[in-house]
Amino acid sequence: MEHMLLLSVFFPILAGIVLLLKKEYQTRDRLLVFVGAALVITGALACYAIFAVKDGVTLFYLTKTLPIYFKLDLMGRYFSLIVTIVWILAGFFSFTYMKHERNEKRYFGFYLIVFGVLLGLDFAGNLITMYLFYELMTLLSMPLVLHTQTRESIMAGLRYLFFSFAGAYMALAGVYFICRFGTTIEFTAGGVIEAAVLQENRTLFLIVTMLMLIGFGVKAGMFPLHAWLPTAHPVAPGPASAVLSGIIVKAGVLALVRVVYQLIGVEFLRGSWVQTVWMTLTLVTIFMGSLLAFREPVLKKRLAYSTVSQLSYILFGLSVMQPEAMTGALLHVSAHAFIKVALFLCAAAMIYQTGCTRVEELKGIGKGMPVMLWCYTIVSLGLIGIPPTSGFISKWSLAVGSLASNIPVFSWLGPVVLLVSALLTAGYLLPLTMQGFFPGEEYDASRFAGKEPSYGMLIPLLAFAALTVLIGLVPNGLTNQLFTFAAQVMQSI
């Protein structure tokens, strides 16, 4: 039963390795059948694991006190469900998109491997397992960034690697301390270090926590170590940028949830300088990311900057350390994942069909690709936070939670920054819609005529748009679950 956890982690990894080692396929169809089957089977395994498996399972012992251990709690289930949905849909999108890229076999091989690694990361039941899969994820997603192997992509890949490793080692310092002082390294609501020990070494632990925040924050594009993200994400092939920007960055969020709420414990951090610094950093990032996105003319880069900003919405919600705000943050994880993947896939479809990368070149695109642009518009509205979309629910909870937290200055500064940033979001996303549908009377949009993408691309887009609206319409089930989780880790039921 609990071996399903292991199976769903290792099946895609093995499938990916087999694919990488195999000879080149005779026809493209055979490759796609293999990849499609692997994706679907993994999806089924993962869903079974997510919904049916209760117990944990130890794979082996790294050292006597450090087991590689998988166990699903609500957070793990939530994140892995998002990963599964996005990975399968974006995978099917790639089937069409990758026609115009080379080295498809390698791309799909690593795509499958990263799927398994991400599931492993989400299923991880203790700190060391999470760290292991975190590092593996960084390394194995490198080939996706490097795929085109131009000079630009290699430089971006190197940058990605250095930032990630620098972050990971900052975090590793924290791992040592938690292994040393914690009663266990399994994720436990409220923390694993005894309050007396924490108080005794207060300064030390605050510094360590700060290091871990910045370290894991690298992956989530948090200021000051965010500079890799806008260079690394856009150079990958379209669907790969989508999952990098929509899913892989969430690993940083998951790690921070684990560290702050399930290892260090929120009681200890609330009201400390660490919280203040963290909140400041996230607000700076939100504002800066939106502003940079606003000024960026290349669509994919614009979306990458937008990721920087949106990720910090989530981190801000976590840094407030208030159940309602945390619920909002967690809701924004799924909202942003679906929306950002959809946006990147739209950008990919536009590049695939027209070859245009800059926003002003895409004027009038709605004449030729109306369905795609409608999807783009719906998810954009979601990202701005207009009801009835998922983004509205999450931002609402974020603002309410922040106001209810009673932290001086930040409790109202947060919502203000969120609002300003929402305006900027509208400012950088909607011009494409407006100019796309209404290029003006005399503008000649005939070059886009009949460019509507095929169903292979449209169906995933439609699915993401539908998900965005659906969560916005019936959020209660999810919200309640997440709120229970948030309340439980903050021990204020």
């Binding site: 082996f60 012992y61 790294l62 050292t63 006597k64 450090l66 060391i128 760290y131 292991l132 590092e135 593996l136 390394l139 490097l146 192997q149 290699i154 890949g157 190197l158 690697l161 250095f162 490793f165 620098a166 080692y169 900052m170 590793l172 310092a173 040592y176 301390f177 292994c179 040393r180």
Partner: protein, 496 residues
């Protein structure tokens, strides 16, 4: 069971006699004899390890007719036996991995000389591991140095000879200091057998006599061995010696010769001076600081290097720094971490040297990075092995390097004073490691339409098999570290 007690002595004699016999053999015969001897010694050491690990005791074996405190002794516990086994394994792999190169680069008439040197190196390493007599240790330190010089020089190119000369001078300086320290120790205690020296040293320390001479002695011995094992700032000989010798020599020098001296130092710390007296002396802080400096300086030099072999060599300086940093922590946990790192570094560094040569081979022996672009596609197994080695050096979980870093940091967080510097330098050094190793990995995986021919696995199955063994060794160290640390802990507990 009784007979196993003779095995350490037997393996030393086996290695020495094979060196003598090899001088009468042709190259091929010497090579076969050497392979046989290394495997045989490995098997003997494995038996010894089995005996000592199951009983958990250490045994004394009297050499010759004079009983202690005058005669010569061998003493072995599980740590010694395991170390001997490990050295044999690495030596076998390193020689197999560089077999083709030895054939190509060495004058055919002198091939047997090479294997004589290797046999001598093995015997001297075994003595350094097993002996309980300080003067015997000194004698074999010299034999080790001469054998190592021979291994460097055998290429007979100008740079190799220059490197060997440099190595000779620095090494002799090191052994000179060691000898002076030894003489002073003999003067103060009147003994040469390690256990007896320790008893006297304890008395001296308890009575408060010879405070400064004792300190100077410790300093001389430590510095002498530090020079020989290339601790920063005494590492100037290292990059040339490793960079311009044949690949098997480089692999053995970095993973065996320097480790042999470090093992001798551990032995002196535990068995001659006594761990607590060593910790009380301030030398330990000096080692700590030098270790930290080495971790950073080695890596920065490696980053600046434009020659892959020399880059790997400089990385050794950093790794030796790690080991001395572990000594400097002054706790038994730190010592366990250092011993583990000896294993981990030996396994990784020889892997890197051997796989590095596979990469330079498909670039017409050009060691410059620019020529190595895309080399991993031309020699697939070497590329893969180099990547594994790099990941281990960088400290990715599942590989051996991660476990050493974990052990070092666990040791570091137990020390109040040294925790922060150790952790900070560990982090910086790891990032520096990442820079140069990942730069290389990306370079060799960057595809390019190249003028050089590719090599398939089938052309050299032995080489591919050796690399596979190295990779497996690395992953075993990384994934099953608990039994190994248990063994080290047990070995150290019966070591003194």
């Amino acid at each position: 069971m009784e007979i196993i007690r003779n095995f350490p002595c037997l393996s030393i004699l086996l290695a020495m006699f094979s060196a003598i016999i090899s001088s009468a053999l042709k190259g091929k015969g010497a090579r076969r004899l050497n392979t046989f001897v290394v495997s045989a010694v490995g098997a003997l050491s494995a038996c010894t390890l089995y005996l000592t690990y199951t009983t958990g005791e250490s045994y004394v074996y009297v050499m010759g007719h004079f009983p202690a405190p005058f005669g010569n002794e061998i003493r072995f516990g599980s740590l010694e036996a395991g170390m001997a086994l490990f050295f044999c394994v690495i030596m076998l792999f390193s020689l197999n991995g560089g077999r083709d190169k030895i054939r190509l680069e060495i004058d055919p008439g002198k091939e047997n000389l090479y294997y004589i040197m290797v046999d001598l190196l093995l015997s001297s390493l075994l003595v350094l591991v097993y002996t309980n007599d300080l003067f015997t240790a000194y004698v074999f330190v010299e034999i080790n140095t001469i054998a190592a010089c021979g291994l460097i020089m055998i290429m007979e190119s100008g740079r190799a000879i220059e490197a060997a000369t440099r190595y000779m001078i620095m090494s002799l300086l090191g052994s000179g200091l060691f000898l002076i320290g030894l003489c002073m120790l003999y003067d103060m205690t009147g003994h040469l057998l390690m256990s007896y020296i320790q008893a006297s040293v304890r008395d001296i320390a308890a009575e408060g006599l010879y405070v400064i001479p004792l300190l100077v002695t410790i300093a001389l011995i430590v510095v002498g061995l530090a020079i020989k094992s290339a601790l920063f700032p005494f590492h100037a000989w290292l990059p040339d010696a490793y960079g311009y010798s044949t690949v098997s020599s480089a692999a053995m020098l970095s993973s065996l010769v320097s480790k042999g001296y470090i093992f001798l130092l551990i032995k002196i710390i535990y068995r001659v001076i006594g761990f607590d007296i060593f910790v009380q002396s301030r030398i330990i802080n000096v080692l700590f600081v030098f270790g930290l400096a080495g971790m950073i300086m080695g890596s920065t030099s490696a980053i600046r290097e434009n020659d892959i072999r020399r880059m790997i060599s400089y990385s050794s300086v950093a790794q030796i720094g790690y080991i001395y940093m572990g000594f400097g922590l002054g706790s038994s946990v730190g010592m366990v971490a250092s011993v583990f790192h000896i294993l981990s570094h030996a396994a990784t560094k020889s892997l890197l040297f051997v796989s590095g040569v596979g990469l330079t081979d498909v670039a017409d022996d050009n060691k410059q990075f620019i020529e190595l672009t895309g080399a991993a596609y031309r020699n697939v197994c070497a590329g893969l092995a180099f990547t594994v080695g790099s990941l281990s050096m960088v400290g990715i979980p599942l590989f051996s390097g991660f476990i050493s870093k974990l052990l070092f940091s666990q040791a570091a967080v137990q020390s109040q004073m040294k925790m922060l510097p150790a952790l900070i330098v560990l982090a910086i050094s790891t990032i520096l490691n990442t820079i140069y190793f990942m730069k290389t990995v990306i370079r060799i995986y960057t595809p390019i339409r190249s003028k050089y021919a590719s090599v398939s696995i089938k052309e050299n199955p032995l080489y591919a098999f050796t690399l596979l063994c190295f990779i497996v060794l690395n992953i075993v160290l990384g994934m099953c570290s608990q039994p190994i640390t248990d063994w080290i802990t047990q070995g150290l507990s019966v070591f003194a």
